[in-house]
Symmetry: C2
Subunit: 282 residues, 2 copies
């Protein structure tokens, strides 16, 4: 699955320093390596792209300069982004001249320091919708994500453009990064719980720190943890940050089953807390 | 100053349709043409860039594909963005291979529909800081904008990169767009009042609709306006949206003098209201 190079692993080690707050011990477990099921790079990429409706297009100017410009997009079932551009706009003229393109999308749920947030670059070649076998789906995908495009999509100078992805590069924040194959990307599913994650994390940390600590004691190697905070959640489990006698540690706890419904995060977390109490006899 | 083409003027006319809310009359005055002093495209670009600390870099992959990726940046006195990149990261390797690059930056103060917001693309060629005559200023500019870069800037694999801008393309929202020459961009000044604008607009609309209406009656051709709302503000004046017997109209009112201090927007607006009352004998 992972196609990271030795250099990238080194970079993770170097940049991992940032993961610790000033004055805390650096976690001795790399963020991507603390165990349990988690989303693949392909799933991370699909999740970011499924929840965003704008990004930055990289296209080629007539003189070969890479041209970065704002675009809105929708997403087809196979993860291909679809743009709606006027031929009068520079980026559309660029695509007419050279079909190579990429799209950078930032995680729309991330708040705070930008480099700590997720983002993905999808690269490949575009097709104008009249060159694409499924013009109607492309159109529908764009209009679903960007309803206001209905006001101009039918103007003569506007076309839909589909980016057929052949390279995927995901960065999850400091020290979290990986590539995905085009095939893995096409077949991966966006995490349905993602829209609930920010509220779920706030709720867990505000109202259930005791349950999080029980999860850590029951299902991580830090049985001596004294406090736990949820730092990330997904359909497979929770990332925790723990206070332990040996300093601050990062850990992962997994749900019994993958969550398959948008609203299923709460039930999975309640189940994990229940199993923690059961295992600890608490 | 303007380098827009006939096509772009046509696009403005077409896209101008969006400026009106559903059910309202389309303003008969194009947003860029409703008179009074306003910021040039170069000033708009410098203002966006001065207030943002991240954007999307366009670089060239080894195979020539344009590669869009997230970057943080600072800005030198001449408007050149400065990045701090690891040679282990793909975009830095791209810049090593081909110095052509661009940077897309969105207006960090814009909220709401993304295509209605400002953004700018700066294109040119990068220099690694050891190739730049003012390495120290480049470093200082980046660290001022991105203080957390101090944690990794001195690692061996990180370098500062300066984008020497030779093309500037600003889009201010639907139907507002223009290019600026590299020289105009270098010499332009960021609008010092920009950080105050969102609060100023909220305050004016919430607490002073009567003063806005007086401004419209005194200083626009809509003496018969019945309501006024501020839609934009800058160091030169205010953009107003007016209810008139002939429908919804856009108009511009200018301050007596350009505001030169970050906190000067309030005094200039109070002065404009005072002159409106004076002129109308109200």
């Amino acid at each position: 699955m992972s196609t990271e190079t030795k250099n990238e692993r080194e970079l993770k080690a170097v940049i991992g320093v940032h993961d610790a707050a000033p004055g805390t011990e650096v976690p001795d477990v790399a963020p991507l390596a603390f165990g349990g099921n988690r989303r693949s790079a392909a799933e991370e990429a699909r999740t970011i792209v499924a929840n965003a409706t704008h990004g930055t297009l990289g296209s080629l100017s007539e003189d070969g300069t890479p041209w970065a410009s704002l675009v809105t997009f929708g997403v087809m079932d196979d993860g291909s982004p679809v743009f709606c551009l006027s031929t009068l706009a520079e980026h559309a003229r660029n695509l007419e001249g050279d079909r190579r393109a990429s799209l950078m999308v930032s995680d729309p749920f991330h708040a705070g320091e930008i480099l700590a947030g997720g983002r993905v670059t999808l690269a490949g070649a575009v097709k104008r919708s009249d060159e694409h076998p499924d013009e109607e789906s492309a159109r529908a995908a764009h209009l679903e994500a960007v309803p206001s495009a209905a006001m101009y999509a039918d103007f003569n100078d506007f076309s839909f453009w589909i980016l057929e992805v052949d390279r995927v590069r995901w960065v999850g924040g400091y020290g979290r990064m990986d590539s995905a194959s085009a095939e893995d990307y096409r077949e991966a599913e966006a995490d349905p719980v993602q829209p609930q994650v920010p509220d779920a994390i706030s709720h867990l940390n505000a109202d259930h720190p005791d349950a999080l600590l029980l999860m850590a004691k029951a299902f991580t190697r830090y049985e001596d943890a004294t406090a736990a905070k949820c730092t990330m959640a997904d359909r497979y489990g929770l990332d925790l940050q723990l206070d332990t006698p040996a300093g601050e540690k990062a850990a992962r706890v997994s749900f019994t089953d993958r969550v398959d419904k948008p609203g299923g995060l709460r039930a999975a977390t309640v189940d994990l807390a229940r199993r923690s109490r059961q295992k600890l006899g608490a």
